[in-house]
Symmetry: C2
Subunit: 154 residues, 2 copies
Amino acid sequence: MSIAEEADVETLSFGPLENSVGFLLRIAQLTVYERTFAELDRRDVPIGEYTILLAIGLNPGVRQGVLADRLRIKWSNMTKLIRSLEGRGLIERLVSPRDRRAISLRLTAAGETWVEEHKALVLRAVERSVASLDEDEQKTLQSLLRKVAGWPQL
Amino acid sequence: MSIAEEADVETLSFGPLENSVGFLLRIAQLTVYERTFAELDRRDVPIGEYTILLAIGLNPGVRQGVLADRLRIKWSNMTKLIRSLEGRGLIERLVSPRDRRAISLRLTAAGETWVEEHKALVLRAVERSVASLDEDEQKTLQSLLRKVAGWPQL
DNA sequence: TATTGTTATACTCTATAACTATA
DNA sequence: TATAGTTATAGAGTATAACAATA
């Protein structure tokens, strides 16, 4: 390590990456998550688990692998998450009668209560984290993100 | 684990999260990164290291902490990344003469060569990963993402 | 006292391959 | 043979706090 000859730079450029959706997606996502976690206090309301529980509640009987694929979670990792939620009594794992390989998921009463209790907190945090955009901009952004993710438009 | 009474659900809803920028950002980002990595073969061209090297090349003398903040990398983790790049002879760490606490970074000749050699590959992969959007949609999305990230508009 | 960067460590997240059971 | 899920494990990524040097 030697002595620098030039001044530090405070305004940075990222060249071609400034026009890269992939790069900007990553930065924007990290920014929003930092804010969301700051509001939620990560340890009290794990946003990932909340998402899974909410989805199971909205889609009772959903197959585990379908949910994993949609949330971009590997099956091998999904197993651990689901077992943990089951162990805490928040969900039930049920063998599908049509295909006995498949596991279908539903909330227990305790799971429903948990989702309900944390709903307001999560939604408030999620909304605040994008307060820099107005209503129209949020709608536009949501639509473009769905397209990128290969999700159906609403 | 018992027997399920209902059929599996293949079309999922995510309720209020479907209209959440934060949630969609995460899914979209994971989707794009999967595609990008598939093209790059992650082990050959680590996109994170490429970004750091590109930024140092475009902003010679940049201070380590400034770069870390901008890329949402913690200082303690940035140290390891920078030391690794230095150890491979791709960058130099220089003490800033104005503030002897600060480290300013620049590419070595080998570093410049590395960036140049991988430039085309990275940019091609990054572009292909958002091929589902047309030119205008990409511009709009980039602008909105910059706003979310708190970055200046170009 | 505050800032810049480092060290050490623990924890979470993610990826991979081999495996069982069912279709 | 292919699919649904599990297990084990390694590796990457991330967070936290205590610390030294300089401002």
